[in-house]
Amino acid sequence: MADMSVAHTAGASKAGRFIIYGLLALVCLYYLMPLFVMLSTSLKSLDEIRAGNLLSLPGGFRTDAWVKAWDSACTGVQCEGLKGFFWNSVSFVVPAVVISTMIGAFNGYALTMYRFRGSDLVFGMLMIGCFIPFQVVLLPMAQTLGAMGIANSTVGLVFVHVVYGAAFTTLFFRNYYVTIPDELVKAAKIDGAGFLRIFFSIILPLSVPIIVVSVIWQFTQVWNDFLFGVVFSSGDRQPITVALNNLVNTSTGVKEYNVDMAAAIIAALPTLLVYIVAGKYFVRGLTAGAVKG
């Protein structure tokens, strides 16, 4: 729109572009600043950190802070770095993301293609799940996990995240599936396909964009979660977010900012990676349905 309104003359258009790109560059700079500070600090020695200012470049390419954060930094009493906790997180995030996405796809399919009496009500109730703050469910969830005998376990944490994520993933898939014409399902019914066959042979292959959206969303949510992690796990089974918190708060004399920064980047790396790999699908998936493919 801005493009059209400034495109009257070549000169105005050029000036307009200059302003737009200038603004975009400023915004980028603003958002990239913290990352730059983190990265450069993580590569500095403690002396450099004390001597220079926040924005100064590191003197050399030092990776000791990274090695220490990964391998030997103290997170409380034990000093084994983040590596164990990193794999802890991976071990519950992957199943939680996969299971909640699958449930979302299935729910969305059932709620749109096989409308049953009260399906809108069920969907409405599921949506309430999106608005319940984490803190509210802590106590009942703890009781439930206890009753199920999966308190303080990876399975328990997976369960919590699946339950919490299902509302969001259902919303994603349901909204995607309403854009798929019903006639497709009708045609498959007449061809003789049943409920599951239609889902796996026809609906699921069409769902790639929304699966990517769901995976990114869930991965970010579950990986970055701190509250459930700190409440429903303990000791060496804690997720990386909790370990990072412990690492930063464990002080043995000098505060090692370079190690803290390296640790924070390590903790954020997987989500960053997911966005870089699948980011373009994310935008495409969110706008799917606007344009019929």
């Binding site: 006639e183 497709l184 396909a193 493919g293």
Partner: protein
Amino acid sequence: MGALSIRDVRKSYHGNEILKGINLEIEKGEFLILVGPSGCGKSTLLSMIAGLDSVTSGEIRIGDRVVNDLSPKDRDIAMVFQSYALYPNMTVRENISFGLQIRKVPAAEQARIVERVANTLQIGHLLDRRPSQLSGGQRQRVAMGRAISREPSLFLFDEPLSNLDAKLRVEMRTEIKLLHQRMGTSIVYVTHDQIEAMTLGDKIAVMKAGEVQQFGTPQEIYDNPANLFVAGFMGSPSMNFIPAKVEAVGGGYGVKLESGQRTHVFPVPAADGKLKAWEGREVLFGIRPEQITHKNASRAGLPQFQTAEMPIRLTEPTGPDTMVLVPINGKDVVCRVHPAHAGQPGESMELMFDLSKSVFFDPASEQRIA
């Protein structure tokens, strides 16, 4: 036993009656058209035949089986949808063989069937493409291919041509008719286009507001419409309805028509008996545009022809014919005239009315009188 029989079928949603007792029956190999304006229930009826919608009451039989409670896959039917509903993730070949695969037809047999279908519809070169790589006409063909691959006893078509452009629509219409001639399978075809209905159907059911208004062959429905709605719906340009008073004339009865400064009373010998009861009252006189033409001397003496000179308000040339609009009893009446004989607006011309097929309706009940 007919190919399809529908007996007193009703459908209600939340207490609203969508279909109010439908009765239809076709023989094996017949082409049935369900036609009507949108919202008349024709697509719902088709869905119920397919098993995609439940039947509230009544009975649907396909062949000699009552199918009310059978699932779509057990009804021995195939359907072509308005949006084609091709599976976007599958190639044309996979689309055609999907139903066969589910029915566990052996692979070799599947390949043979796909090849035969592809030959029939000339889509052999498209087999490895995906639906998104096909044009509208090609998608239409594939959708038909998918339907004929299983050799069902009944085909259902849900407005299959309405997404195509005008030229392609006419081509595909011919192809569907040829396909039907070749295969001889019974077809139920839903459309809102009365020309499609006329050209394709062996039998037409004209529907409105959940009821069948008339069920018959295209010619019956065209020549002998049961009521005002059917008469107006079928035919293009549609039938003229002229409010006219019934008067006694020459020992029989006729209709009084005023045009320009002149008044004519046209005797209608064929409808004499039935018009008698309406003497002095107003009826709707229905006459199709092609029954009002330029004056033809060789027919002038015959009793069913009447001529009158009328002022021309407008002419609409269509190529083969020119539509001439003349005012009669305050209504604009369309007459179909050979271009060489059509006058100019502002002039008047002699028109010849063929009253042998004229029809009369009760203006209040809209039912046919004669």
